[in-house]
């Protein structure tokens, strides 16, 4: 129970989900650290926050992102070519912390974390102001050390549930997760999807999630392209995650003049839809 009080005091993630109107969905944005260039990441994140993002998933690039579609593969590649390192990512987070309290979750593959050293990685992450971790290729079975170490450093460890996860599995994931549970809306890799591909199948899945995941808030991601997608898909959850569509947007504007302004207006639209943009 000392753990509970500690978390209540320190978890930026938890506070985002508290006292919300049920129609006001949390928007989490994924951006690959070091994409499109090393210097823009901090400024982008601060701009995302200003335009409606409430959680940031900062991607730690990996050479072999086998759960990602072409968009995030591309961004990871660019970031690695730009010379991104784990220490540089920690510096970025420290920089953001000078002016922002937005929850930051590091998301990436297990190998760079193991290579850095789980102990050292968690310590540095916590020191720099990281709030949580999402490691998609480290399921519960393989995460006992990571889970313990993250907890010791007050880092939330966020696991994923998938449409083919059994009820039992969902309960287990809820038990092991802290911060929130990441609901993967469709089987497949990350990436924006066409038409109703997502919406059609997602409803029954989310109903099942709601029945089994009761301890943690639920965020839904994979395939969301715009505000309308987000609205439909996140209806019965606490919020939504956009990654590939955001990176596609950056890719389409970068490095034209005012690319950041265009990206920020895309972000604002994601959160509020078109009409709000016109009102402002």
């Amino acid at each position: 129970m000392s753990k509970e009080t500690l978390q209540a005091k320190t978890s930026r993630i938890r506070s985002v989900f508290q006292d919300r109107d049920k129609d006001d969905k949390v928007m989490s944005l994924f951006i690959t650290a070091g994409y499109p260039d090393l210097d823009s990441t901090v400024e982008l994140i601060l701009g995302f926050e200003e335009n409606g993002a409430e959680v940031i998933e900062l991607g730690m690039p990996f050479s072999d992102p086998l759960a990602d579609g072409p968009t995030i593969q591309y961004a990871s590649n660019v970031a690695i070519k730009n010379g991104i390192t784990m220490n540089r990512i920690f510096e970025m987070v420290s920089e953001i912390r000078k002016s922002s309290e937005i929850p930051i979750v590091l998301m990436g593959y297990i190998n760079p974390v193991l290579r850095y050293g789980v102990e050292e990685f968690c310590r540095k992450a916590a020191e720099s102001g990281v709030d949580g971790l999402i490691i998609p290729d480290a399921p519960i079975e393989e995460s006992s050390v990571l889970e313990k170490t993250a907890k010791a450093n007050n880092l939330d460890l966020i696991y994923l549930v998938a449409p083919n996860s059994t009820d039992e599995r969902m309960k287990l994931i809820d038990e092991h997760s802290s911060g929130f549970v990441y609901c993967v809306s469709v089987t497949g890799v990350t990436g924006a999807r066409q038409g109703d591909e997502v919406a059609k199948s997602v409803e029954r899945f989310i109903d099942r999630v709601n029945k089994n995941v009761i301890k943690n808030p639920k965020m839904v991601g994979f395939g969301i392209r715009n505000h309308e997608d987000a609205k439909i898909i996140s209806q019965k959850t606490d919020g939504f995650i956009v990654g590939s569509a955001l990176i596609d947007s950056i890719r389409s504007f970068y490095p034209n003049n005012e690319w950041k302004r265009n990206v920020f207006s895309f972000v604002k639209e994601l959160k509020h839809g078109d009409h709000k943009k016109i009102q402002k």
């Binding site: 072999d64 759960a67 690695i80 190998n111 760079p112 290729d137 399921p139 998938a162 083919n164 089987t187």
Partner: protein, 397 residues
């Protein structure tokens, strides 16, 4: 000493495991159950061994390499002739086994990755025989190096998808196959071609290849009345090697050597000598030795052989390396190509360049052997597919 690896969780010592996205967890559990059922099902076993006999052409011969033995003038050299398997390499043992499993599990679509194309051809062959839809992922560079195999797969009715990402070789083909798998988990079975990937693949693939070592053991007993002193096999992911070694593993009198591709040399950055210079890391679902930089980014492996230029290695090999039960050495491109020539000229067998790495190690081993000893080389595949690379090499282009 009793050898029982892997554990129920899929660990060989500290290596192995299931480092996969959540989507694949139920799939792997389903696979574990289906595999366990099949292992204990006499009908499945009978069907599998019948196919090995009547379709693959097993048992493969154990050939005494007389002129090669004379050439070194030391221990007697035998070749386990996996090159005589249908499709020209050992890979078909596993492709058939996994395909039968897929059928039992009600999957209708098969995917596979391939490097040199041998596993792709084996999988396409099994799919043709059983009437399955088949998609093979192959790096664009490998498609260039192994054109003949690309055409064979096409003729067998498989769709070969060119992979343009990363190094455009086996590593990236595997990434792409896994992406297909997580997208189509419902109806698709992924036939992994080596003893890599998440549990239960390394164990399952080993067990579908252990017939190589079991036959060797029986054949040696019949002709020599005893076991071998040395076993040699090449190692990329490590499937032919583990299938060959595994049945001998509890017999400590048998020395086993796995031969990696060191490319231009293990001290250069153009190498695939994972156990020689790699460190533990996770790639394609399991923890093993890996070629990666200090940031944990996987490095591109190099070998003249498209089947060996993989920056990882099966987790069981990592374990056997650490426990020193098996010794691993690197052979360079040049040493392997010399062996291609030597074996062709001395034995009338053109080995695959992969296989030639194992033969090249004879140069180092043979002077240390005695005349009354026995060395068996696993002749894992034939070299027809490599003719272009071979002739380019010897014509100096």
């Amino acid at each position: 000493m009793k050898y029982t690896a892997p554990t129920k969780q899929g660990y060989f010592g500290k290596y192995g495991g299931k480092f996969v996205p959540e989507i694949l967890i139920p799939v792997l559990e389903e696979l574990e159950t289906a595999y366990e059922t099949a292992q204990n099902d006499p009908l499945f076993q009978k069907e599998y061994y019948d196919l090995l006999r009547e379709y693959v052409g097993r048992p493969t011969k154990l050939t005494l390499a007389e002129r090669l033995t004379d050439h070194y003038g030391k221990a007697k050299i035998y070749l386990k002739r996996e090159d005589l398997c249908h499709t020209g390499a050992h890979k078909i043992n596993n492709a058939i086994g996994q395909l039968l499993l897929a059928r039992n599990m009600g999957k209708i679509r098969i995917i596979a990755e391939t490097g040199a194309g041998q596993h792709g051809v084996a999988t396409a062959t099994a799919c043709a025989k059983f009437g399955f839809e088949c998609v093979i992922y192959m790096g664009a560079e490998d498609m260039e190096r192994q054109k003949l195999n690309v055409e064979r797969m096409g003729l067998l009715g498989a769709e070969v998808r060119s992979v343009e990402s990363g190094s455009k070789t086996l590593k990236d083909a595997t990434n792409e196959a896994i992406r297909d798998w997580v997208t189509n988990v419902e109806n698709t079975f992924y036939i992994i071609g080596s003893v890599v990937g998440p549990h239960p693949y390394p164990m399952m693939t080993r067990n579908f290849h252990r017939v190589i070592g079991e036959e060797t053991k029986d054949q040696l007993k019949a002709v020599e009345g005893r076991s071998a002193d040395y076993l040699l096999a090449c190692v990329g992911g490590g499937s032919n090697a583990i299938g060959f070694f595994y049945p001998f593993i509890e017999d400590n009198n048998v020395k086993m050597i796995g031969i990696e591709a060191s490319g231009l040399g293990a001290e250069t950055d153009k190498t695939a000598a994972t156990l020689t210079i790699g460190t533990p890391g996770v790639l394609h679902g399991s923890l093993s030795y890996l070629l990666h930089d200090k940031e944990g980014q996987v490095q591109l492996a190099h070998s003249i052989s498209a089947g060996l230029d993989y920056p990882g290695i099966g987790p069981e090999h990592a374990y056997l390396h650490d426990t020193k039960r098996i010794h691993y050495y690197g052979i360079t491109d040049a040493e392997a190509m010399n062996a291609v020539k030597l074996i062709s000229e001395k034995e009338g067998i053109i080995p695959a360049i992969e296989t030639a790495h194992a033969f090249a190690y004879l140069e180092k081993l043979m002077p240390l052997t005695q005349k009354d000893q026995i060395v068996v080389v696993n002749c894992s595949g034939r070299g027809d597919k490599d003719m272009k690379t071979i002739s380019d090499w010897f014509s100096g282009s």
